[in-house]
């Protein structure tokens, strides 16, 4: 009897815990949606807004923002910025991580040490010199100016290395004995094995790029190169005449692509994780 009831208490507890944490995680987002879909001029922090009160008012605000700003173009720019950055970070980072994690060669330790040190230097130190360099290359207000300076991601390298370390060395030896070239080992053995890590890094890079504010702000100063963050910045000025619900709408629109991106790609992560589980 006692033995029967114990797991059920644990089950109840775990469900209650899981659901209430989900509520804490999701309610603020739901609440923001409710602020957008409400008539302007209603107080925002008062009344816990549990439901949207006026769908047409929200749609009107979204329409207003799309007509008043180049939000669609900014979506395009931000998306391209993110996709190119992800591609670059994954390729360049995994190549380097493969070497740093699995092989030894002269200079490996000092090189890796220097890369890790750079993680500890706050961006604010380097932002102006990097900006001046980008400007000397003639890359201001260009896509390469946005993307290229961020490709050598020390964070990505660090993360991929942690995963690649787990690859057994006899697996690599076996491949070598089968006559695989160095690059083939990377491509056919190492990459498939750290697929989860790659997908996770892709998502994290997407979030980081999408939310990146300071770099686009100074490097793409012209409106035709504005990213979503910058367009939102136009509404976020504390002394502007914009009312708060319009500001929230601009913010909400910025959050939609990453939400969609995540919901699409989470299937991939699940698949990847399941696969490695059976192999492991």
């Amino acid at each position: 009897m006692n033995r029967m009831s114990r797991p059920s208490i644990w089950t109840v507890l775990k469900w209650v815990l899981a659901v209430s944490i989900a509520a804490i995680a999701l309610f603020p987002i739901w609440w923001m949606i409710n602020v957008v879909f409400a008539v302007p001029g209603e107080p925002v922090s008062l009344n816990p807004r549990l439901f949207p009160t006026s769908i047409p008012a929200g749609i009107e605000k979204i329409r207003l923002i799309f007509t008043e700003t180049d939000y669609l173009r900014a979506y395009g720019i931000s998306l391209l910025y993110a996709v190119l950055t992800i591609a670059g970070v994954l390729i360049i980072g995994s190549l380097a991580a493969f070497e740093f994690a699995l092989f030894d060669f002269p200079g490996r330790r000092p090189l890796f040490g220097v890369v890790m040190l750079s993680l500890m230097v706050p961006t604010a130190v380097t932002i102006i010199p990097t900006y001046l360099l980008t400007s000397q290359l003639g890359w201001l207000n260009t896509m390469q100016g946005l993307v290229v300076p961020g490709l050598a991601s020390a964070f990505g390298l660090f993360m991929l290395m942690q995963f690649m370390r787990a690859i057994p060395s006899d697996m690599i030896e076996a491949a070598r004995l089968d006559g695989a070239s160095h690059f083939q080992i990377y491509w056919h053995v190492a990459l498939p094995l750290c697929r989860n890590a790659l997908v996770t890094l892709a998502i994290l890079t997407f979030m980081q790029t999408w939310g990146n504010y300071m770099w686009p702000l100074i490097v793409s100063s012209r409106p035709e190169m504005y990213t979503v963050g910058q367009v939102v910045g136009l509404f976020n000025s504390p002394l502007s005449h914009q009312t708060v619900d319009t500001v929230m709408t601009a913010n909400l629109l910025a959050a939609i692509p990453p939400l969609v991106f995540f919901l699409i790609f989470q299937r991939k992560i699940v698949a990847g994780i399941a696969m490695s589980g059976t192999k492991g």
Partner: protein, 295 residues
């Protein structure tokens, strides 16, 4: 001979190293150069030796910022990791669609751009009628002015921080959890180990490298905290840090000196002081790992 042998390795790391040298190493070194100069970004830099460093260390704001930072890091890193680990273990207990649902729900805040999270929480924290204070009101508790009461401001920031970053760390930890061979648990179960024992003796040790990564990265990024306190306090380049500088952090002070005061040399020096602090902490982390590894 040796070059031929190692050439494939160097070719593979070349793209990374070249880009890294151009866009990280060079700016860092020139930042270091500027830190010994009075420089506004335009006029030729003027060498002033250690003056920038002395000026910063003597300034009132620096002491406040460092004090705030140490308290903040000491709270937010452990809190964030514990919550993330808890979430990962919790999600790991579900299967199929519910596991997906909870994982996605917990990850959702990470997906929001940082400026959005801060904006939402500013309203949730509003005194008297903000969501949180209203809930306190249901229990008959008095209103707390979370973002203006110097006693609560730091904790208010930590809560937002954990809300935003727990999902991020959870995903990384989950990926690590899934990599633990199930045979280990089966063997433990056959030996009669309880769930708690399995967590302590299998999960945590096997998660070692992943946890180390999460903690180290969490530490490094916490030391560079900027956008959340900046937005929570409604800061601008001319005024920042919130009431009585209770949410003033080094990077905020550095940005203010750079763009508000146009003193890029001083800002760079500030950055290197902070870098040294981060390096010391990280070195301590690695040393701790090495020591534990030997044990």
């Amino acid at each position: 001979m040796t070059l031929r042998r190692y050439l494939p390795h160097y070719l593979m790391i070349a793209p990374f190293i070249i880009l890294f040298a151009m866009f990280f190493l060079y700016p860092i070194l020139s930042g270091l150069y500027y830190s010994f100069h009075a420089w506004n970004g335009v006029r030729p830099p003027e060498f002033i030796g250690l003056t920038n460093y002395q000026k910063i260390i003597a300034s009132r704001d620096f002491a406040t910022a460092m004090r705030n930072l140490l308290t903040y890091v000491a709270i937010t890193v452990p809190a964030g990791i514990l919550v993330a680990l808890g979430l990962a273990l919790l999600v790991d207990n579900f299967t199929g669609r519910w596991a997906n649902f909870f994982r996605n729900a917990y990850f959702m805040p990470v997906v929001l751009p940082a400026f959005l999270a801060a904006t939402i929480w500013r309203w949730i924290y509003a005194p008297n009628f903000g969501l949180l204070n209203m809930m306190l009101g249901w229990f008959g508790l008095p209103s707390v002015n979370f973002l203006n009461d110097t006693g609560t401001m730091l904790y208010a920031l930590v809560a937002v921080d954990v809300w935003v970053s727990a999902g991020f760390n959870m995903v990384i930890i989950l990926a690590g959890l899934k990599n633990i061979p199930t045979e280990l648990y089966e063997a433990a179960r056959l030996d009669g180990a309880s769930k708690g024992q399995q967590i302590v003796h299998i999960t945590i040790p096997m998660l070692g490298p992943v946890l180390f990564f999460v903690v180290t990265y969490g530490l490094i990024s916490a030391m560079q905290v900027f956008d959340k306190p900046w937005l929570l306090t409604g800061s601008s380049f001319t005024t920042y840090g919130g009431r009585r500088n209770a949410l003033l952090f080094p990077v905020m002070d550095m940005m203010g000196r750079a763009f508000g005061g146009v003193r890029f040399g001083e800002a760079a020096a500030y950055g290197f002081i902070l870098t040294v602090a981060i390096m010391v902490l990280t070195a301590a982390m690695f040393a701790l790992r090495g020591w534990r590894g030997r044990k």
